[in-house]
Amino acid sequence: MDYTLEARGVSLRFGGVKALTDVSFGVREGELFSIIGPNGAGKTSIVNCISGRYKPTEGRLFHRGRDITGLPPNARANIGIGRTFQNLALFHHMSVLDNIMVGRHHLLKNNFLTGSLYWLTGARREELKHREKVEQIIDFLDLQSVRKAPAGTLSYGLRKRVELARAMALEPHLILLDEPMAGMNFEEKEDMARYIVDLNEEYGMTVVMIEHDMGVVMDISHRVMVLDFGRKIAEGDPAAVLADPHVKRAYLGEEDELLVDPDDAPSIAEDAA
């Protein structure tokens, strides 16, 4: 398969709670792939499995054909997986600049010995070289005016943008965005959508995005996957997914007789049990 990221039968259980049940999907190189679904559907759980925070109870995850199911989270930066968090997860006391510089961690070579000797070991030169890269990201995301401000003092929308900048600094080829537009106003959403499209088209990153704003998802995604109660209920191009009766039911809770699939109804009851 030519998938950049592939999940095969991923299940995740916490005690008796089934967060994910047998989820399989594939993301192609250069794709903008969205995961949608009602609250508690397991969207963040699947992203946490990909980024290594959770280990799937069953099933395997493949990245460019390599099994990454058991890879520790910090090793996934090296293979080019970056992510942002749903709830802000910036380093609050660090400046915006330093936050983004942390993203360069796995690309920098200096360590506590060479770093301490700054001028003598070339650490200074290396840091300055990477600073330049970071400034390019700052320019791209329009963060110039706040680069020296502590991240904890910024507004919500700006923090989301800094988090995106930090994930970009990893130079990932696969970036996972967990609700990048939650809590934003219309203008901020518009900006963020543009950045995400640029990430995808200009920087060539494969994007996996969780988002609730249907308008944005339908506009910019190449393909969409819908989760409900930890199961995949639909996958495909945005228009097709939107027309899918299962999706309609998951979102609107329609009781339309025509929509109730006799095979499907008991299985949902089974999940809930």
């Binding site: 980024s51 290594g52 925070r53 520790p72 989270p73 910090n74 090793a75 996934r76 930066a77 090296n78 970056g82 992510r83 968090f85 997860a89 910036l90 380093f91 609050h92 006391h93 660090m94 330093d98 510089m101 942390v102 993203g103 360069r104 961690h105 796995h106 920098l108 200096n110 360590n111 506590f112 060479t114 770093g115 301490s116 000797l117 700054y118 650490a123 200074r124 840091e127 300055l128 600073r131 330049e132 400034e135 005016s145 706040v146 020296k148 401000a149 003092t153 930090r166 990893l170």
Partner: protein, 357 residues
């Protein structure tokens, strides 16, 4: 934004190099250099007594700096710093006495050996958090102290171990006036090293772990490695400080380096400002100078009219101890962010004076 920055108006940086300097402005750098040059004349200007106070501040400031890496920058906690301090002291004296390694090399070597021991204690500690970690580091303190009292070959047991004076190129530095320069050099080097560390990759990794360890991990930072490393670094500076102390005192005993000293190291960085390098120095100076100034105050109070009116007599000694405790408590209540924070506020106030509104 304006009020937060201490950089004066019109000071523009035109290169990234100019934006990564240690001191925010040229003036502050010149002041610091002038301060160091002035300190070089301290042995000529001050009495032996005040020099010994200054040496103490310097030595403890190095140990506190190590602790600040661990507590202030990495967000771990340790109440075993005094144990590592003693380990450095004994190690330096031991390798100097037994293997005839010159004191000049024995001090950094003792730092490295202490760091290795610190790494060993850091391994389990890197997996613990909060109160559990406090207990683990408490164990480190007691294990080390117990080792010192049992291993007579190493520490001299009940008889204090002796250490040789510092010598360089066959020239022996004796007394406060000469040793002051050794400590000054070490303080400068240690503070520079840590300042550099904190503006490069691994220092940022430590701070990232403190602020949000989950996202630090996603950024490719190995949590166990860096938490253990910060224990090693903390032990390294404790070891250096202990070794300096050994070759200053010339005898080393466990006396005064129990758990209370470890807590005093914590007090230094909390008063100075956790996560602030200059704050560490300020906090150490504060903690060392506070009893001194209280001593001076009670000395002057003795026999004065206030003393007679209140019939204090010997109670002055107790009042002094109470006052020290109260000042520290008041400090934590009114200045929880430490002296470093206060210093920043003073600077920003004067930057805009008299138009600060």
């Amino acid at each position: 934004m304006v009020a937060r920055s201490t950089i004066p108006a019109g000071d523009f940086r035109t290169s990234y190099a100019a934006d990564t300097t240690i001191f925010p402005t040229r003036t502050s750098r010149n002041f610091a250099i002038a301060g160091v040059i002035l300190l070089c004349f301290a042995p000529q200007a001050f009495s032996e007594y005040w020099l010994s106070v200054a040496i103490q501040i310097g030595i403890f400031a190095i140990a506190a700096l190590g602790l600040n890496i661990l507590v202030g920058f990495t967000g771990q906690i340790s109440i075993g710093q005094a144990g590592f301090f003693l380990l450095g002291a004994f190690t330096s004296a031991y390798i100097n006495n037994t293997y005839a390694i010159p004191v000049f090399f024995a001090i950094p070597l003792a730092g490295v050996i202490t760091a290795l021991v610190g790494l060993v204690f850091g391994l389990p500690a890197a997996r613990l958090k909060g109160l559990y970690l406090v207990i683990a580091t408490l164990a480190a303190q007691y294990i080390l102290l117990d080792f010192f009292s049992r291993a007579e070959w190493f520490s001299g047991g009940s008889v204090p171990a002796s250490a040789n004076p510092f010598s360089i190129f066959g020239y022996t530095l004796r007394g406060d006036r000469q040793y002051f320069y050794v400590v000054l050099a070490y303080v400068l080097v240690c503070y520079l090293l840590v300042t550099n560390l904190m503006r490069t990759r691994d220092g940022r990794a430590l701070i990232a772990i403190r602020d949000h360890y989950l996202s630090a991990e996603i950024m490719g930072i190995n949590l166990t490695k860096y938490r253990t490393l910060s224990f090693g670094l903390a032990a390294f500076f404790a070891g250096i400080a202990g070794a300096l102390y050994a070759h200053y005192q010339l005898v080393i005993s466990q006396e005064g380096f129990g758990i209370e000293r470890s807590i005093l190291f914590l007090a230094m960085i909390i008063i100075g400002g956790t996560g602030s390098i200059m704050g560490t120095l300020m906090g150490t100076a504060f903690v060392v100078l506070l009893p001194e100034s209280m001593e001076w105050l009670s000395h002057n109070l003795k026999g004065s009219s206030i003393d007679k009116a209140l019939a204090l007599n010997n109670n002055i000694t107790f009042l002094r101890e109470i006052a020290i405790g109260m000042i520290i408590i008041a400090f934590l209540m009114f200045e929880p962010d430490g002296l470093a924070h206060r210093w920043r506020q003073i600077k920003t106030y004067w930057k805009l004076y008299p138009f600060s509104h």
